[in-house]
């Protein structure tokens, strides 16, 4: 049996595990265009409404992912991002606005998301993922989107997601390139399988266009919707590698690192 078959069963079990909140008439009107998507329907919408997604950083990638998940009707969004809006955020962080310079990013993000879809519960933390909060944040979520720039935050989130058995959509970008994959504990490699330690030469600030961030943020949101509802075939054990210079999109099959310090004891034998 192929990896995707195994993992799709796992994803469906995940979505079946939660009790679904009923849809209101307003919900049906708001989500009318997606309710008719084959394989989604009212059951998928109820699953989204009953779901909580944690987004680590709501910058260029995470902000767009949050917007698309709010648009899709995910019931609760947890946003973790420390610091105030800076001028250099505004080329890509579409939840931030020029009139919010110098004020907390998460407040700007929450304000915009609530204006966009007041039915979605938005909870914010003006801190980045750290040892002091990662356990509770991950425990509060059904799925995690990792959109942080710093590898120490990404590794921490990966470790906790695997510890608690939560799926994590991992997104990344550089210049005109983007990458996306989904980690499911016990079924796929994890971030530490790919990168066992701090990458050499990595810098906090890197070149990128906002349109690249928005592209990968939207794809991350779609991936989250798929995993939560059992729709389609998520990127389980596959890394999407996109290059917007030539608009090439291809996937690379990923393999577990048998010596991985995070997931080797949690993987299926």
């Amino acid at each position: 049996m192929g990896l995707n078959n195994l993992d799709m069963k796992s994803a469906k079990r995940l979505s079946n595990a939660r009790s679904r909140r009923p849809l209101s008439a307003e919900d049906r009107a708001t989500y009318e265009w997606q309710l008719s998507v084959a394989g989604f329907g009212e059951e998928g919408q109820r699953t989204l409404k009953s779901s909580t997604v944690l987004i680590s950083r709501v910058g260029g990638v995470g902000g767009v992912a949050a917007t698309q998940l709010a648009a899709a009707g995910v019931g609760r969004l947890l946003l973790a991002h420390e610091g105030n809006v800076k001028p250099s955020d505004l080329n890509r962080q579409t939840l931030m606005t020029a009139d919010w310079l110098g004020k907390p990013r998460v407040e700007s993000a929450a304000r915009r998301l609530r204006e966009f879809n007041p039915k979605v519960a938005v909870e914010v933390l003006n801190k980045n993922i750290g040892e002091d909060n990662v356990e509770d944040l991950v425990a509060s979520a059904d799925l995690i989107i990792d959109a942080a720039p710093l590898f120490r935050e990404r590794f921490l989130l990966n470790r906790e997601a695997f510890e608690q058995g939560k799926p994590m959509v991992d997104s990344a970008m550089f210049e005109l390139e983007a990458q996306l994959t989904t980690f499911v504990p016990g079924k796929t490699p994890c971030l530490t399988c790919l990168y066992p330690g701090d990458p050499p030469g990595w810098k906090r600030q890197f070149p990128v266009f906002g349109a690249v961030a928005s592209t990968i943020g939207s794809l991350a949101a779609m991936e989250a919707i798929k995993v939560l509802t059992g729709l389609g075939e998520p990127l389980l054990g596959r890394l999407l590698v996109a290059d917007l210079r030539d608009m090439s999109f291809h996937t690379v099959r990923l393999h577990r690192n048998l010596h991985c310090m995070v997931c080797r004891e949690k993987s299926d034998k």
Partner: protein, 92 residues
């Protein structure tokens, strides 16, 4: 024999290349190919490609065709294959 090496993310910037065709006189492992490329492309690429011991860096993401291999893998590449070298990237 010839193989194509594609570079992504910082590897593309460090080498100044999106791809190149590499001529190999004899069957070469991924491990040895990366060391050879690191020597060929100078310090900017070498710091991403090799660890402190001069071995392929374990955080270098490498694929043969569409299949990931470890950067230190001793699998030999074969004529006509495409090897992709990707340095780690993140969000922001």
């Amino acid at each position: 024999m010839k193989v194509t090496v594609r570079y992504a993310a910082q590897a593309r910037v460090a080498t100044g290349l999106s791809h190149e065709v590499v001529e190999l006189d004899e069957p070469t492992t991924i491990h040895d190919l990366i060391i050879r490329l690191a020597r060929q492309h100078g310090s900017a690429f070498r710091r991403f490609a090799l660890d402190a011991n001069g071995c392929p860096h374990p955080s270098l993401l490498v694929a043969i065709g569409d299949d990931q291999v470890r950067s230190g893998d001793h699998r030999k590449v074969t004529s006509g294959e495409t090897i992709t070298i990707i340095t780690p990237i993140s969000g922001g």
